[in-house]
């Protein structure tokens, strides 16, 4: 780990943190370092100022339940999320997605806030939170606001966060009665993934009440298969419907190509994962 030089800030309150970010254009918040540290080490991204979130007193990691709403502190690690019984019961897709992030050492360090703020279409939790219709609480110099996850990802590595804003919390509705699944294809735990999907489907007497299908490594941002979701509404999940939904979900996608998979192959993987995920809900 030999990054380019940087100044280091370690604020102890959110207010102090947003002031630092606000007054330093190049400052980048550091949570668990899962993405930032390797990029700095490879010297493909070298912020001249790093601001650690580790000592901010309001940002201690937590997972709490208030009625139907589950609140997850931005600094909660993947390991915490994966091992939380509350989350496993209420939002299994999130728990599964967290458990499939890289290896144990990385899950011990990486945080949900960092995972999302990165704006990377290849992070597990972005798909899981999309599927769960999460709300993102952010705080900045102007105060607190809530960004629905559907409005959060704007472009490759580009999010709706204004400079100076920090993600503080995620809120998801407990949905123990919907069918949820996270599925991923990658060469190894730490390899760049080939494809993944997060599914969240509400069924009523065999008919689809609501559906959210989120796709990873499918385009410049984490994406929802909106047309497929619409198509599924009020339908029974038989094999014909499932196949059609998988087709609709992937037909207009332009996923990236790399050594692991071409655009075409990624489309096929995404479509297969959707098909298998949906099939598992009725099997």
């Amino acid at each position: 780990m030999r990054p380019r030089p940087f100044d280091f800030y370690q604020p102890t309150s959110i207010k102090e943190a947003s002031e630092i970010l606000h007054s330093h254009e190049d400052a980048k918040p550091l949570a668990g370092g899962q993405s930032l540290i390797p990029m700095m080490k490879l010297r493909i991204f070298s912020p001249s100022e790093i601001m650690s979130l580790a000592k901010i007193k309001e940002m201690k990691p937590y997972i709490s339940e208030t009625g139907q709403i589950l609140k997850i502190g931005a600094m909660a690690t993947h390991d915490m999320i994966h091992r939380s019984d509350v989350l496993r019961n209420a939002v299994p897709v999130l728990s599964e997605a967290a458990g499939e992030i890289a290896d144990q050492q990385i899950r011990n360090r990486g945080t949900i806030g960092g995972n999302i703020a990165h704006g990377d279409p290849s992070t597990n939790l972005s798909a899981a939170l999309l599927a769960l219709d999460a709300e993102i609480e952010v705080q900045g110099i102007e105060g607190t606001r809530i960004i629905p996850i559907d409005e959060f990802f704007l472009d490759l590595f580009t999010t709706a966060l204004d400079h100076g804003e920090i993600i503080t919390e995620f809120r998801v509705k407990a949905s123990p009665h919907t069918k949820q699944k996270f599925m991923k294809v990658a060469k190894s735990d730490t390899a760049f993934p080939m494809a993944f999907v997060a599914l969240n489907v509400g069924l009523s007497e065999g008919f689809v009440e609501n559906a959210r299908i989120a796709l990873g490594v499918a385009g410049p941002t984490p994406l929802r298969a909106l047309e497929a979701e619409k198509f599924l509404l009020k339908k029974r999940l038989d094999s014909e419907v499932i196949t059609k939904a998988a087709q609709i979900a992937t037909k207009d996608l332009e996923p990236p190509s790399d050594v692991h998979a071409s655009e075409e192959y990624r489309k096929q993987l995404l479509s297969t994962l959707i098909k298998r995920g949906l099939s598992s809900f009725v099997g």
Binding site: M39, L42, D155, T158, D258
Partner: protein
């Protein structure tokens, strides 16, 4: 790496050609220009901030313009260097049309080399395509202004 594209513009061929062959017009439409220096009528040196999302490097670039076919076809060569990155890009631009409207066509042949090309392999083609497209959109806007 190869890619191409085209754009309609509501300006006559002559106007477009004149615009294209003036380096100061062209350089202003290049991605995130930090500074530039017009060396002569065919050569510009520029610092361009290019990258993938927030992952950006400043590329020291030498851009040369050569007419392949007067009034019709231009070759823009960009030789760029940044920390541990290089790019050699050849853009063939042709303009076709009449006095009121024309079509710009571009054909890009790029060798992206170094760190970003290796690590950013999965995004670099789409991002490059977009950057070139944006540069031409900028041109058409300037032509109409």
């Amino acid at each position: 790496m190869n890619f191409e594209g085209s754009k309609e513009v509501k300006s006559g061929v002559d106007k477009v050609w004149k615009f294209m062959t003036a380096p100061e017009n062209m350089v202003q439409c290049m991605p995130d220009v930090q500074s530039y220096n017009i060396v002569d009528s065919k050569t510009v040196q520029a610092k361009l901030k290019v990258g993938i999302g927030f992952i950006k490097e400043i590329f020291d670039s030498e851009i040369t313009f050569a007419e392949i076919e007067a009034g019709k076809k231009l070759l823009i060569t960009v030789n760029s260097k940044a920390k541990a990155n290089s790019a050699t890009i050849k853009i063939e631009v042709s303009v076709d049309g009449d006095d009121t409207k024309s079509t710009l066509k571009w054909n890009v042949d790029a060798i992206m080399a170094g760190r970003l090309a290796s690590i950013g392999q999965r995004y670099i083609q789409k991002v490059s395509d977009k950057i070139v497209e944006q540069s031409f959109v900028c041109m058409t806007q300037k032509l109409l202004a």
